[in-house]
């Protein structure tokens, strides 16, 4: 999807961009310090599950940060972005205070910029390729600026509804309502299709709603995107499990011509160690769903959630960070990350680790649970940990943790949350005869078109990639929309 370099260059050579570049000497730009995100102080924010930690940049901060961007002739940041957003173009629009144009630029490439600005691992993507790094300086805060532009548009009250082609009457279905299906739906409705999104749960948004907590991604941000889609004409069917409530055959009979499967990787993995089914040991999906989807932490809801003085969370990814910080907010005195590798190797976003440390989360790195032990009532009371050390690099390029023989310790816990990854939901693959799945249970698709072995079925996001990222899920949805349009137009 890399945009052809000619177009990028043409846009860069537009007079306003050239003037802007010349309006400030390069040495002045690089002298500006990277902006610091405004945050609610840790003592205050841990009192609430819904208080967003980052409060965003002010206009002045955003414009100043935008000035740091050198508008490089070879913008390597674009290569770092999984959907190749024209980053300098949106940032330079912020510099000239045309925030609406900045937001519009983002929308050309991403259907969920307000979400991605908050949850993308920028330090591994765009910001990892920023030219500032070569000067041993901190990269331009691309993620903060993305969030700024998207939030500006949302809060300005005049969100632009994109132009929609005349309806063509062709029905297509999206299965699942996570970021992947939502971006697919947005593109298809623009092309004039009759789009319905089917969701098994009672809330739309997939992981954005049931997984990622509001202190990181407020529901209002997601709901604004859902409102836009609904205003554009996308239909939503909640409480609808495709393959159960109705089969693909039923839906085809009802006139659906093609489907996009964005059913995610919802199945929680466990370690299969002794004691894992004790009361008090649960998956991060269960813990987060109870709190985020069911509001179990509120007094006036029916769903219960366990509270404990000591909560151990196993894992080092975003899910683990979200769980452990949720535990802190639910009143845990000690909320501990247990991770078998070292801190540097944790896959979580850097910012989440930083926030977790500020909030008093403890880190037990190079420790791996081997058993949970019960109290007299049969509830988890202790976890046995095997200490690890780093050995040779493994297939992922990270140094493989190996057990230190005999180095075993036990810690007292009240709750253990297992956040060691997810697997694809097998329901959809199981009810599609002829679909190809990998050994891991993900659906096999053509990389360019996201089309599966069954021509009318396209798929993307976590059901194709395993647990991945919002931006990749979103990119897949857009790719699939364009390919499905080609496919249906030729039919």
């Amino acid at each position: 999807m890399t945009e052809n370099t000619d177009k990028l260059e043409q846009e860069r050579n537009e007079s306003w961009r050239a003037e802007l570049r010349n309006s400030m000497p390069m040495k002045d730009r690089v002298a500006i310090e990277r902006v610091k995100m405004n945050e609610i102080p840790p003592e205050e924010r841990i009192k609430s599950q819904t208080c967003e930690v980052n409060t965003g940049l002010t206009e002045e901060q955003a414009v100043l940060e935008a000035k740091r961007c050198m508008d490089c002739p070879k913008p390597t940041c674009i290569e770092g972005c999984p959907v190749n957003i024209n980053i300098p173009k949106f940032i330079k629009n912020i510099e000239r205070k045309n925030f609406a144009a900045a937001a519009a630029t983002l929308k050309d490439y991403s259907s969920l910029p307000a979400v991605c600005g908050r949850v993308c691992p920028q330090e591994k993507q765009c910001e990892a390729k920023c030219s500032y790094l070569k000067m041993k300086k901190e990269p331009v805060a691309i993620g903060y600026l993305e969030r700024f532009a998207a939030d500006y548009e949302r809060t300005s009250g005049n969100t632009q509804i994109p132009k929609i082609n005349a309806p063509n009457g062709i029905k297509v279905g999206a299965i699942g309502s996570g970021p992947s299906s939502l971006s697919f739906a947005g593109d298809m409705i623009k092309l004039g299709y009759d789009v319905t999104v089917f969701e098994a749960l009672h809330a739309i948004g997939g992981v954005l709603k049931y997984g990622i907590p509001e202190f990181r991604l407020p529901n209002a941000v997601v709901d604004a995107e859902l409102d836009n889609l609904a205003r554009m004409g996308v239909k939503f069917e909640k409480n609808f499990v495709v393959g159960r409530t109705a089969s693909f055959e039923d839906l085809k009979e009802a006139g659906y011509k093609a489907f996009y499967v964005g059913s995610g990787a919802g199945l929680p993995n466990f370690m299969n160690i002794p004691g894992e089914n004790l009361n008090g040991v649960m998956s991060s999906n269960e813990y987060l769903t109870r709190v985020n989807l069911m509001c179990a932490n509120c007094d006036d809801t029916d769903t219960p959630v366990m509270h404990g003085k000591v909560v151990a969370v196993v894992g080092g990814g975003n899910t683990a960070m979200d769980s452990v910080r949720t535990a802190k907010r639910l009143g845990a005195e000690r909320a501990i990350i247990i991770y078998r590798r070292s801190r540097e190797e944790m896959p979580a976003r850097l910012e989440e680790v930083k926030h977790a440390i500020e909030e008093g989360i403890e880190f037990l790195n190079l420790h791996n649970p081997i058993e949970y032990l019960p109290n007299a009532e049969g509830r988890v009371a202790k976890v046995r940990l095997q200490k690890m050390e780093l050995g040779e690099p493994d297939a992922s390029g990270r140094r493989k943790p190996v057990p230190i023989e005999g180095a075993i310790e036990e810690i007292d816990i009240d709750i253990a949350v297992v956040a060691i990854g997810v697997s694809p939901n097998p329901l959809i693959p199981a009810c599609l005869k002829g679909i190809k799945v990998t050994r891991k249970g993900t659906i096999e698709v053509c990389e360019e078109t996201m089309q599966s072995a069954l021509p009318e079925i396209f798929a993307g996001g976590d059901i194709v990639r395993g647990g991945a990222t919002v931006i990749l899920a979103m990119g897949d949805g857009r790719k699939a929309a364009s390919a499905m349009h080609d496919y249906l137009s030729k039919k």
Partner: protein
């Protein structure tokens, strides 16, 4: 939103609801369940689909008031709406011609048992059903069960209906009397545990349908974990029926009480 078409009280604490749900009515099979939620602050609970009416596009649910949600549901009346209803979920019962089926139902377990008894009868099996409850008033669906059973035995703890004794007492007599090819037992976990022990003694293949704690009901959370044959299974997608002789009932009994503390302490409203 699904409309309640009909409500009927079956016993002091048990109600029957006929609910509008045309798609579920069409696709459901014996053994399937739904997850429902009452009100925006409600929790998600599983209920077995007891029956369906394709023409009217309805399903039948039977509920006993045990917790906050079942109590809320039982307060709803004909014409009211259920906020969220999703299904059919879970694997369907494997129904085939096995010969003679011995079905054991305990308490409100008769509700999930009924569609299975019906399906086995319709598949040409001889069906003997043993229903049990603490007393006469708590025996539900007796007439419906009789309709689909070649023989129906009722057992009560106090002898107020049928014979005095446990479900297993009635069942063991039948097992001693004639050849039973397959058993199914549905009821409180403790009853199923003893039913499984009984049929294991006689080496009769037995299924139990488990009513574990659930949240999503789609395999997403693992709240419904149960150990079967030494392996962890998710009741909502791998079950709800499992080989009774392989279920770790002691673990199941403990897990059913996982939220006792939270439910009584924090949420006593």
């Amino acid at each position: 939103m699904n409309k309640i078409i009909e409500k009927q009280q079956l016993s002091e604490t048990v109600f029957k609801f006929v609910v509008e749900a045309p798609l579920i009515a069409k696709s459901r099979k014996p053994g399937n369940f739904v997850i429902l939620r009452i009100g925006e602050k409600g929790e998600r609970i599983p209920l077995t689909i007891v029956d369906s009416d394709l023409e009217k596009g309805t399903i039948t649910l039977i509920v006993q008031t045990v917790g906050a949600t079942s109590a809320k549901l039982c307060k709803l009346n004909t014409g009211d709406f259920i906020t969220d209803l999703v299904g059919p979920l879970g694997k369907a019962t494997h129904v085939s011609k096995v010969g003679t089926l011995l079905a054991m139902g305990g308490g409100v377990g008769n509700a999930p048992l009924l569609p299975i008894v019906k399906a086995f009868k319709e598949a040409g099996n001889r069906v003997i059903t043993v229903l049990a409850a603490r007393n006469k008033d708590l025996i539900i669906l007796e007439d419906e069960m009789r309709k689909y059973s070649d023989e129906l035995i009722v057992m009560t703890d106090d002898g107020s209906s049928g014979r005095k004794g446990l479900v297993t007492d009635g069942a063991e007599e039948v097992i001693k009397r004639e050849k039973i090819d397959e058993c199914i037992a549905i009821g409180p976990a403790i009853m199923m545990k003893f039913a499984a022990m009984l049929t294991k003694k006689y080496n009769i293949p037995t299924q139990c349908s488990l009513n574990t704690i659930m949240v999503d009901g789609t395999g997403m959370c693992g709240a419904c974990r149960v150990t079967v044959g030494g392996e962890t299974k998710f009741t909502c997608v791998d079950g709800p029926e499992f080989d009774a002789h392989k279920i770790d009932f002691d673990e199941l009994l403990k897990r059913l009480g996982a939220y006792k503390k939270e439910e009584t302490e924090a949420k006593n409203h």
